[in-house]
């Protein structure tokens, strides 16, 4: 992280971090949220902002493998760390080929676990981390796993089904996203 001054007079910071396995950097003001940083500075618009106060979970990304609300973090505060967004859940970044989707993504499509798709990235990241912690959830576990994210379209019915289906699919898959860092960050 280096410092400078924006044309607006506000102090600027060079933020370097790893996003979806690749080095990334941008120069931003200290109050730039991680969600805005990802979306507007890095162009990773898959992360969505639903409330800007940490309740809806649409902006959930994985920070060193753990789900966090990117609207409640400043980009400068995660400099040097590893972020996984929905774009990083797909093993191949080339095209949206159904064969390259992760187990959770495939399960969402199979189970019709999304409608408008706006909350979906937050659920996908949350469940990706959740299944790593509990690879064989019961239906009750599946409910608990997604109990911090809001969806207005699905009544959560098929998201719960997708958690269970993703667990089945994962048994034959290697999760492509980074494991949580040892001893936290």
């Amino acid at each position: 992280m280096t410092r400078g001054e924006a044309p607006t007079g506000e102090q600027q910071h060079r933020v370097r971090l790893t996003v979806n396995g690749r080095a990334a950097a941008a120069t931003v003001v200290a109050r730039r949220t991680l969600s805005d940083f990802l979306r507007h500075d890095l162009g990773l618009t898959g992360t969505h902002v639903g409330c800007e106060h940490g309740v809806c979970g649409a902006c959930t990304v994985l920070l060193d493998g753990e789900p966090v609300r990117s609207c409640l973090l400043f980009a400068v505060s995660v400099a040097g760390r590893e972020v996984t967004t929905v774009e990083g859940l797909t093993p191949s970044t080339a095209t949206a080929d159904p064969d390259t989707l992760s187990a959770v993504q495939r399960a969402f499509r199979e189970c019709h676990a999304l409608q408008c798709g706006f909350c979906t990235p937050g659920f996908l990241t949350t469940i990706t981390a959740g299944l790593r912690e509990n690879p064989h959830p019961s239906a009750d576990d599946a409910v608990q796993m997604i109990a911090g994210n809001l969806c207005r379209c699905t009544g959560y019915q098929n998201i719960v089904a997708a958690v269970l289906r993703a667990a089945e699919l994962s048994d034959a898959d290697e999760p492509p996203v980074p494991e949580p860092a040892e001893g936290g960050a």
Binding site: P7, T8, E10, V29, R31, R32, R39, H40, D41, G43, L44, T45, G46, H48, V49, G50, C51, E52, H53, V55, C56, V86, E87, L89, T90, A96, D97, L101, Q105, F108, R109, E110, H112, L114, Q115, C116, G117, F118, T120, P121, L124, A139, D140, A142, V143, I146, A147, L150, C151, R152, C153, T154, G155, Y156, Q157, N158, I159, V160, A161, L164
Partner: protein
């Protein structure tokens, strides 16, 4: 084609994009390209006169590009926003301005627009703008509006925007003949659509071309386009509006033009630079739209069997500060209140009233939940009075299957007669009773009571007019590579339109679904459309796609018949190949037909050579394109039905009330749903799931908590209790059970009815019925939270004179 796609749960083509972060919502458009961003100064007062606006401090904020007030608007943009749906009964319509002029009528109304390099800086500047207000009295809630001690609009002293009466049958004779009468007073509070993506507008002005492109998170891109063209004084052909991926709508995004849909393009034109605005959550709470708030007074006369002989309903509808969407919601309430029933006589009177609160426009269900609540509470009250089973009373009032088409004798929200096209309500009730276990419930209740648990069961029935006109259209074009482009003007907010309309086009044309691409809500591709509302997309655009695809197919067969020198009636298209029926060797791929349907001079690619003028001998006396024909393999058509088609359904719930805390838990929830023929059952079920969740939200959790000054005090997700998964009964836990009935509509070529809103409609009625059944206290107002129920039950035990509605509820005998 071996199998039809219609009726199959085809996986959505949208999902590859949306599950990988490749969706394009309005705020995602052209990120990182220096688009300016807008923020608004919004009124902190519910009602105030604007004395002065001082922007001096804001202009100096670095990064600020422009600041606009009403004074800066010119021409039609400075005039009031349109009354979108005028109605003779709406005698005092009022609308706001894109930026408030002299007076604000609700907290949250936009007054000043700031455009800056980014949203952070725009908000910095907005915070430095000083507006002097002279506060005026707030009018909050229907009681205050009806009392009219203060007026919301000075020239509407009684606060009444509209008054409408509809009568069918002889009400006096009905009451005179009725051995029993009873009266109810009911109330439903406000809720709102609350899509996860709020509104958003992105506008680019092309100064060289003098044209404007606008992306908007809207349910009606063609009409937004027309409104922008009119307001900014641009030719329609120089304005394009695109609804990209839209993160839910549920009604709020059918309203247009939103003030920001005028001011953002206005700024883009004025500045010659791209400008966008993305609504934040608080803005969505205080400056979009709410719905539901109504009070009802019902008088009903009925016979010993529970048959309604006369029904007299008076209700009051809170329309908020303005009436841009007319009186659609109360009209829907007043007509759809009748549900699957046929009262002997019916009179409904409503007043739509102004309050100094956020505007009220359709939210999924659009007035139906309130009407169904009124009717179903009435049915339960009749059953309680007569000591009859609640399902028996309903069955006694059903329209019978042999009575369709059934004319209710009223005028519906589309201005057309309220004539039900098809349905089978008695069968639906039988299905519902089986799904929920109605007949065995008394035993279940008794067993639970022995364990100290308090259970109740309830039900609710509805009929929903879906697929209203005036029309939708579709364009189908077969490309020279055999792929098919389908375009409709109607938008999508997550209903899977790309998938279901591809199913229809693929079936009609005889091509694999993978060959079909669907574009929705893009005025560049299809300019005529009405919008996505009233559960109309499948019915209207689905029918239009079928008709347009049939036209394209007819042309394909005609062109192929010439080439293959056979009669067109001997041909069919299977798997993208036009072939003589029963003689597959005589065949031509559809892509090749497309090539030959467009006589060419220039061979721009290898395939095109076949269509050039020296490629094959032609009749020298005939023009290459016949007189009434046109080049290309395309079909375009419109579907415009005589009137709406009527879907229906019935829900039932078993609830458990904590005897000590009055906490309400839904143990089982059953749905029987009829939307005619289903294009994609997976998607229909998804719609029902989401609707039921929103219904439960409105029944038990969500309300708009206005204080007496007109401040919305729960305007965040911290305080507005939008349900998480833990609040909604889950199918995976055996708590939600779905049943389908299919009574095809005779009104459209596919026999379909709408499904979008259905799930939400009866839920408040169902849960009120179930809770009342459990605790024996009349439930007359929703939403119902545990504290309120606790007080109701305590009041009941304190005041033994208020009669329980069920003799055995809570073990209290009458």
């Amino acid at each position: 084609m071996a199998t039809r796609y219609f009726g199959q749960s085809i996986k959505r083509t949208e999902d590859l994009r949306l599950t990988t972060g490749r969706g394009r919502y309005t705020d995602d458009i052209a990120v990182g390209t220096g688009t300016l961003e807008a923020a608004y100064v919004r009124s902190p007062h519910a009602h105030a006169r604007i004395i002065d606006i001082d922007v001096a401090d804001a202009i100096d904020v670095p990064g600020v590009v422009a600041i606009y007030t009403w004074e800066d608007l010119v021409g039609a943009a400075a005039e009031p926003l349109p009354v979108l749906i005028p109605h003779p009964a709406l005698h005092a319509p009022r609308t706001g301005y894109p930026l408030a002029r002299d007076e604000v009528h609700h907290a949250g109304e936009a007054i000043v627009m700031v455009v800056a390099q980014n949203r952070y800086l725009a908000e910095d500047a907005a915070a430095k703008i000083r507006v002097d207000y002279q506060p005026l009295p707030a009018v909050v809630g229907l009681d205050a509006a009806r009392a009219a001690q203060h007026a919301v609009h000075a020239d509407v002293p009684d606060n009444v925007a509209a008054r409408l009466v509809q009568t069918v049958g002889d009400l006096d004779a009905g009451f005179a003949a009725a051995p029993h009468t009873l009266e109810l007073n009911l109330e439903i509070e406000r809720s709102c659509s609350m899509p996860l993506e709020g509104k958003a507008v992105h506008a680019r002005w092309d100064a060289d071309d003098q044209s404007l492109r606008v992306y908007s998170s809207t349910q009606a891109s063609t009409s937004v386009r027309a409104a922008i063209a009119a307001k900014l004084g641009l030719p329609l052909g120089k304005v394009e509006v695109i609804a990209p991926d839209v993160g839910g709508g549920f009604g709020a995004k059918i309203v247009h033009p939103w003030p920001e849909e005028i001011t953002v393009p206005f700024a883009a034109v004025r500045l010659g630079r791209p400008v966008k605005w993305t609504e934040d959550r608080r803005e969505h709470f205080v400056s979009s739209a709410h719905e539901r708030g109504q009070q009802h007074h019902i008088r009903v006369g009925f016979d010993d069997a529970g048959r309604i002989l006369a029904l007299d309903v008076q209700f009051w509808h809170d329309n908020g500060a303005y009436t841009p969407y007319g009186i659609i919601c109360p009209i829907v309430t007043s007509t759809q209140l009748l549900g699957p029933y046929k009262p002997g006589a019916y009179r409904v009177t409503f007043e739509s009233l102004y309050t100094t609160t956020v505007i009220v426009t359709p939210y999924r269900g659009a007035g139906r939940p309130q009407g169904v609540f009124a009717m179903e509470r009435t049915m339960d009250a009749i059953a309680a009075r007569l000591g009859l089973d609640r399902t028996v009373v309903r069955a006694a009032n059903f329209i019978q299957p042999d009575e369709f088409p059934f004319d209710q004798g009223l005028i519906f929200q589309d201005g057309r007669p309220l004539i039900y096209d098809s349905g089978n309500y008695p069968d639906q009730l039988i299905m519902l009773k089986e799904l929920i276990g109605w007949d065995a419930f008394d035993d279940e209740r008794r067993r639970a009571r022995d364990e100290g648990r308090l259970l109740g069961i309830g039900l609710g029935c509805y009929v929903e007019g879906t697929g209203p006109g005036p029309y939708e259209g579709a364009h189908v074009q077969v490309q020279t590579d055999g792929s098919v482009e389908v375009a409709i003007g109607l938008t999508s907010q997550g209903q899977g339109h790309q998938t279901v309309f591809a199913q229809i086009a693929a079936d009609e044309l005889g091509v694999p679904i993978e060959k079909v691409r669907v574009t929705t809500g893009d005025t560049r591709r299809f300019g005529y459309a009405v919008g996505t509302f009233a559960s109309r997309a499948a019915v209207m655009s689905g029918s239009a796609v079928a008709l347009a695809a049939r036209a394209a197919k007819a042309k394909a067969l005609r062109v192929a018949a010439d080439i293959l020198e056979v009669d067109a009636s001997d041909l069919d298209i299977v798997d993208g190949v036009v072939a003589v029926k029963g003689s597959p060797s005589s065949a031509i791929p559809l892509g090749q037909v497309a090539v030959l349907s467009n006589p060419l001079r220039y061979a721009f690619d290898e395939a095109a050579k076949a269509a050039t003028q020296f490629a094959k001998p032609a009749d020298p006396d005939k023009p290459p394109v016949a007189e009434d024909d046109e080049p290309g393999l395309e079909g375009k058509d419109y579907y415009s039905p005589p009137r709406s088609t009527f879907a229906s359904g019935m829900h039932a719930a078993v609830v458990e009330i904590d005897p000590d805390t009055s906490e309400i838990a839904i143990r089982r929830y059953a749905v029987v749903h009829d939307c005619g023929n289903m294009i994609n059952p997976m998607i229909v079920e998804g719609q029902v799931h989401g609707g039921v969740a929103q219904g439960i939200a409105g029944a038990l959790y969500e309300r708009m908590a206005y204080d007496e000054d007109g401040q919305l005090v729960n305007a965040s997700f911290m305080d507005f209790l939008m349900p998480y998964v833990t609040e909604i009964p889950q199918a995976q836990l055996g708590q939600l059970i779905l049943g389908h009935q299919e009574t095809p509509s005779p009104l459209n070529p596919l026999g379909i009815k709408g499904a979008g809103e259905a799930g939400v409609i009866p839920v408040s009625a169902v849960l009120a019925s179930a809770v009342e059944d459990a605790v024996g206290v009349p439930i007359t107002a929703m939403p119902l939270d545990p504290s309120t129920l606790f007080e109701l039950r305590r009041g009941r035990s304190a005041d033994s004179s208020s009669p329980p509605t069920r003799p055995d509820a809570e073990g209290v005998s009458r």
